[in-house]
Subunit: 246 residues, 4 copies
Amino acid sequence: MSKAIAIIAGVGPGTGAEIAKRFAASYPVVLLARNPSNFEPTAEEINKSGGRAIGISTDVSSQDSLKAAFSKIEQEFSGAPIAAAIFNASSRPMRKPILEFSVEDFETAHGVVAKGAFMFAQHVLPGLVLHASDSSAKYPPTLIFTGATASIKANAQMSVFASAKFAMRALSMSIAREYAPQGVHVAHSIVDGVIDIELTKEWTQGMAPEAKIAADDIAESYWYLHTQSKRCFTNEIDIRPMMEKW
Amino acid sequence: MSKAIAIIAGVGPGTGAEIAKRFAASYPVVLLARNPSNFEPTAEEINKSGGRAIGISTDVSSQDSLKAAFSKIEQEFSGAPIAAAIFNASSRPMRKPILEFSVEDFETAHGVVAKGAFMFAQHVLPGLVLHASDSSAKYPPTLIFTGATASIKANAQMSVFASAKFAMRALSMSIAREYAPQGVHVAHSIVDGVIDIELTKEWTQGMAPEAKIAADDIAESYWYLHTQSKRCFTNEIDIRPMMEKW
Amino acid sequence: MSKAIAIIAGVGPGTGAEIAKRFAASYPVVLLARNPSNFEPTAEEINKSGGRAIGISTDVSSQDSLKAAFSKIEQEFSGAPIAAAIFNASSRPMRKPILEFSVEDFETAHGVVAKGAFMFAQHVLPGLVLHASDSSAKYPPTLIFTGATASIKANAQMSVFASAKFAMRALSMSIAREYAPQGVHVAHSIVDGVIDIELTKEWTQGMAPEAKIAADDIAESYWYLHTQSKRCFTNEIDIRPMMEKW
Amino acid sequence: MSKAIAIIAGVGPGTGAEIAKRFAASYPVVLLARNPSNFEPTAEEINKSGGRAIGISTDVSSQDSLKAAFSKIEQEFSGAPIAAAIFNASSRPMRKPILEFSVEDFETAHGVVAKGAFMFAQHVLPGLVLHASDSSAKYPPTLIFTGATASIKANAQMSVFASAKFAMRALSMSIAREYAPQGVHVAHSIVDGVIDIELTKEWTQGMAPEAKIAADDIAESYWYLHTQSKRCFTNEIDIRPMMEKW
């Protein structure tokens, strides 16, 4: 059987990049992001340090774009089982009165977070099942979805983002139940707090480091989930920094 | 101020019809359903028995169709506040392996249950707020979404329906929080069980009546929610027949 | 069969009194509270206005006291089925660091809210089942537990109260599942907000009426739950005033 | 500062023993169980293989017994901070109709699972806080409670056990919120399934290994939780074997 790969959708500077690097220590990784500038530095870093990474410009909300990406993955890693697939893509958590959202806002957010997650899952599940059948595989194949506070609590003015994140959580739960008997480990993470990345630096000035989530620690938690045995699957974790109020 | 109306989306024989009749005892009602044969008998029954009902053929998943419906409502009931708006539309709870669902299946279900609910809410909220400002109104304006077991539990092979229903529940919660301070009562109902309607008759043969939910009792529960005061809003109820396992 | 009665545990000025009066419109009522001064005015009011009420000084956390109360109920209403039993007793929602709570604090709170609810349920269930078998009964027998925000969210410094309230919610859910097939309707209410009673008047000065829950509206919601048919049981409702943040 | 220790309450053959051995690889461990025969083999195994373990016969439901145990711990490890404290004690998950439970059954279960957890937390929190202040500590101090399916779902005939487990989960959540800002990591695990131990062997004959949870994998998950940084605390995980239906 071909060497198993890991696929990470939603690789920007921050969580996606850290996840990619963490999994690249064990698997060739495929990085999906719409904008190549988002995955290029990470792919380069991985390739330079002895790992193997390819980036594919992909719009996960587009059926055609996803299809093209997976064709390319098949070209590069023909017949490769998938050891891990991480759906880390997201829309922005826009906060505004429901009457100020356009239907396009709704479609954009749901296109990525709900429909995108659904289509991504459909693309990776066969490769994950294939990995489950590989008796030499070290860890069970793992599919992880990155959620947020809004995955379990729909605050005022968060109608669009929260409804999309709730939908993604349901997908994760349903697929977890459908595929666990086949040995595929599906998990959902509730990232509850601000992640400490370039993007959040400006508006978190003055915040203690312990008030923000470390992206590499999220990556470590995903790696831990991946290493769980078939006799101990965790299907949901929450993640928050020590200073978080919740 | 014009006399307040009630709008029910998703009126077929069964729950929608019972809700329409219940609210028609107090308000002129507007019945929305794609197929006129679904609302016609109910509208006729209401009009014959001294109430007032109009039906409008509407596809709640279509922005244009909804817009046209609300234009017609405005023509018929110009400037009327909305005392109650019930989103009872749904897709079928299809159960199949995720790999057998098409992207169209996903879009159809989410188009009605998630996006449809979102757009419906946008259309009715101004009229609900208007009713909240009417000091002579007997009850606070009420927006109710009909959920299902799948709104809180995503079983295997229910990925499409459950993700749409989770999304709708988030919408309900977020809007409830945003609009409660304006006096609009938003509630979500988790209908957990088989409703006793024509459609379910065949495949529930032999089931005791107490194993199925009575549609008119659902309507009564919605009416009760509508009558709650501003000092006692219930934002979520579950509903099941006594014989239900859950 | 004897005329059915209603039993309300935890009758002080406020919610308990309103519940008692609401149910007294249809049933003789038994009011339980530790301190007679808590139930006497309500019992008197009911008896004067044509209803029938007896109060029994009872410590619901004491096995002996509860036993004595139910002996007295049996004396007064021999063989009477129970149409409704409301467990509205509670400890104070003390807020302090866990290290400042004594084991006695824990035992006191749990003695009322958890063990008290358990023992109360054991005492009323046979009478509720009896009522379920009465084909002339207008409504299914109903057992309702009054919960709080702390029933579903355990905030910092609320360890004692929240753990007791979580326990009570579990009791309600388990009994609901066990007794629904016998026609007994069990429900839990999450009262999320400040109730507008004498006790809260001082520390809610300046708060709008719509920021507090009306006790008589809670009573009305309990009555509604009681009137639900066997084909439409609601097992959990939440209740909050329109101005509540949650 | 003295070398930090780990304390595990509820050490029988199975999960407790595996947790003890896992943490013994890094810390001297204290094993608490009522019956010395439960912790002796594990203590011996740890001591023989180069670790350090002491067992103390303790009834966690008894204030005096717990006090005595912690006095002994203080004697043995004077002033030692606590790196990890695991509350793994439990009552049996008895399943019977609520009317068949005695008040003693209720008190026994709640005495261990609810009150025991509360008192244990009070005893270990100062030592955990002490460890949080040790800048040379490798990992944040961790307090973990072992829950079960019944911690989040109260099935019929599970009134006693579920209410106790719900209470424990509330304790965990409340303490997590209170102590996170001090750097203490509190987590609750929902062990959802049959653990593969001697005790369950007989009644799980014929079950596939993948239908049972591996005790050492639970231990590994607890160790992982312990290693999480202050910038990535997980407060709840669920654990189930791949063949579990849920």
